[in-house]
Point group: C2
């Protein structure tokens, strides 16, 4: 939501270098011009973008995953999500991830918006979709990928949240966006 | 929400090394044992944890910031938030950030829960607080920190979200948590 009169806030790039390139992560360090003319350093993860799917069964139950997330050292409850492959349009990523991870195809797709999960140090955006008209065709997990599929009603998921059992930021934000799109 | 019977999901560390250490970011690369006995590599940002504050004025208006976020190259609407300093308890961080960034002290503090903004590649958690009983005492921004303070009603903030003007994941998740705590 940058506006025309935001010049007192905007930083402009002066120089950029790749400072780490691993198997999963790429980190850049940029020098920037501050609004007051000074300079500063910004370090951040360069990310291709991702999608998240809110899969809704015909009976209204939501499809989620339970997956061990090593950085936070615990099993997390999440909506299906994944990184956009090079050249892939986000809707195609959403359709691919829903079948690969959760094992469902869907006939109805609706955009629910976009979120930025980590604006302090990542370029990542996540495009949010609702998927309806689900058919179970079986998952095709990547080698080394392990997860459980669970289904629950909206009220059950809200109860899990209220008890502290749902802490994944993208899933909470997607649940909010999905409820707003339905007038809640 | 890891359970006793989650051994088919859990990864265990085998080795760990620091692969990048910058001014802001530290990245580690670990070898892990997969549930099926195989091995894999995990790269992730090591983060000290953060807090976020939902500041509520006596008239019900919410205090937010508009701040340029270089990684996403735009001005973002956010609740006040910041990193936990070494040895600091999260509530002290919340009180410090609310006065430093937004310029308010508060007499009533309430925990709203915890979220994990980026479980794919960061250890970061964010403890959420509501702050009431606000008094304006003036902000004390860090050198090189530039932001605008805005206040809006809950309905105004929801309208901004519905129009796509609120995409910061932590702020959306905190808005959801704050509304749930009030029975919405």
């Amino acid at each position: 939501m940058t506006r025309d009169d935001d010049s007192h806030l905007v930083e402009t790039p002066l120089a950029s270098e790749k400072v780490f390139s691993g198997k999963l992560l790429e980190v850049r360090r940029d020098r920037v011009r501050l609004p007051n003319g000074g300079e500063a350093t910004r370090e951040f993860v360069v990310h291709p973008g991702a999608v998240l799917v809110v899969p809704v069964q015909d009976d209204g139950r939501l499809v989620l995953e339970r997956q061990y997330r090593y950085p936070v050292r615990r099993v997390m409850l999440e909506f299906p999500a994944g990184k956009i492959d090079p050249g892939e349009v986000p809707l195609a990523t959403a359709q691919r991830e829903l079948v690969e991870e959760a094992g469902y195809t869907a006939t109805e797709w609706k955009r629910l918006g976009t979120l930025h999960p980590e604006i302090g140090y990542s370029t990542e955006f996540i495009d949010l979709y609702e998927a309806r008209g689900l058919s179970y065709v079986g998952s095709r997990l990547d080698e080394g990928e392990f997860l459980d599929i669970v289904t629950m009603t909206e009220d059950e998921l809200l109860a899990v949240f209220d008890c502290g059992g749902l802490t994944d930021g993208k899933t909470i934000a997607a649940l909010f966006a999905w409820r707003r799109a339905r007038g809640r």
